[in-house]
């Protein structure tokens, strides 16, 4: 997708959604997972991913866990209870938004 503005706002939703499906993930894993799911359509840049993760963490939606992997430290992100709630409400919000946009872009022919 060439228009990155369109999905920039959805990045936090994507992160929250991925973390409800997978218990815990680290940054690189998230970039790879998004690439895999969207078959390269959404290319989340590293420069955007970490800021989004840190923002969600500061808002209390994510908590972190450190683990030693090989000879380095790895930071895993997990959803908090507040994060779980946030995920549900943001997905609902997004669905309503998509519906509205669809109504404008692709109006259903009325029966009347």
């Amino acid at each position: 997708m060439s228009n990155s503005k369109l999905y920039k706002g959805s990045l936090s939703i994507i992160i929250l959604k991925l973390l409800t499906e997978t218990h815990k993930m680290y940054g690189y894993e998230i970039t790879q997972k998004v690439k895999e799911l969207t078959q390269g359509e959404l290319n989340i840049t590293e420069g955007a991913l970490y800021p989004a993760l840190h923002k969600l963490e500061a808002d209390g939606f994510l908590e972190v866990e450190m683990q030693r992997v090989d000879n380095r430290l790895r930071k895993y992100y997990k959803l908090t209870q507040a994060g779980n709630k946030e995920e549900v409400s943001r997905i609902e919000e997004l669905e309503r938004f998509i519906e509205t946009i669809q109504g404008i872009v692709n109006p259903k022919p009325s029966l009347g």
Binding site: Y26, Y28, Q32, G47, E57, A58, N71
Partner: protein, 232 residues
């Protein structure tokens, strides 16, 4: 599978420092990211050179390099810091309440020990509070009746809240204590004890008449989720 050596990990830390990442927490996360990405390349082609892969992965961070990551991380941490400050301020205010209550107990006991003038002041305050409470009870009873009349229904907890859990009917207690042991005020321990009781009942009345009633709707909505479904 080919993994990064300890020296290569150290080189990655150095690389982040060279690109203006000063903080260890941010460095660590970026090092793991770069290392994971390089190892991914090695899975497909173990012959690829470390430094070349590092530059390639760094480019993916865009023209500002690690700048965006560091900047956002600073903002996020600043936010967390102010959350901590807020928490401590609330904690401190709790302490302030304790200090106010202790001061009230001391003040009342002190006044009670001042014979006529002190007793007169306390007696006046206690009496004034009694009058205020009667006024409040009558006002709340009116609200209760009006609510029943208007909506034709009232929730159990709502009624208890409006009746102040019958704590209001104990409102005359400070006055009663004051009346019965008036002659023993000169004893210090009696004065302190009475000062404590009067303060406690003032605090209790303040909670049931002011604080809980101000939060009435919020409390009722959390206890009765069905209220949301109610037709207005």
């Amino acid at each position: 599978m080919k993994n990064l050596s300890a020296e290569q990990i150290e080189r990655l830390y150095e690389f982040t420092r060279q690109h203006y990442v000063e903080y260890y927490d941010v460095q660590t996360e970026l090092v793991d990211h770069l290392a994971s990405a390089i190892e991914k390349h090695w899975q497909e082609n173990p012959e690829l050179e470390f430094e070349m892969l590092l530059q390639q992965e760094f480019k993916k961070f865009g023209i500002f390099g690690f700048g965006d990551v560091v900047e956002e991380r600073q903002q996020a941490m600043q936010k967390r810091y102010f959350k901590l400050v807020k928490k401590e301020v609330f904690q401190f205010l709790k302490l302030l309440k304790v200090i106010i209550v202790a001061f009230l107990i001391w003040l009342l006991s002190f006044l009670l020990l001042q014979k006529e003038i002190g007793v007169l002041i306390i007696g006046g305050i206690v009496f004034a509070e009694l009058i205020w409470m009667f006024y409040e009870l009558i006002r709340l009873q009116k609200i209760q009746k009006q609510k029943k009349k208007e909506k034709g229904r009232i929730y159990l907890l709502e009624e208890i809240l409006l009746k102040t859990g019958d704590v209001g009917s104990l409102g005359f207690m400070p006055f009663y204590w004051f009346w019965t042991i008036e002659k023993s005020f000169s004893y210090q321990y009696v004065a302190i004890f009475l000062g404590f009781l009067i303060t406690f009942s003032f605090v209790l009345h303040y909670i049931v008449f002011k604080i809980l009633l101000a939060k009435k709707e919020e409390i009722l909505h959390s206890v009765y989720p069905e209220m949301k479904l109610e037709k207005v």
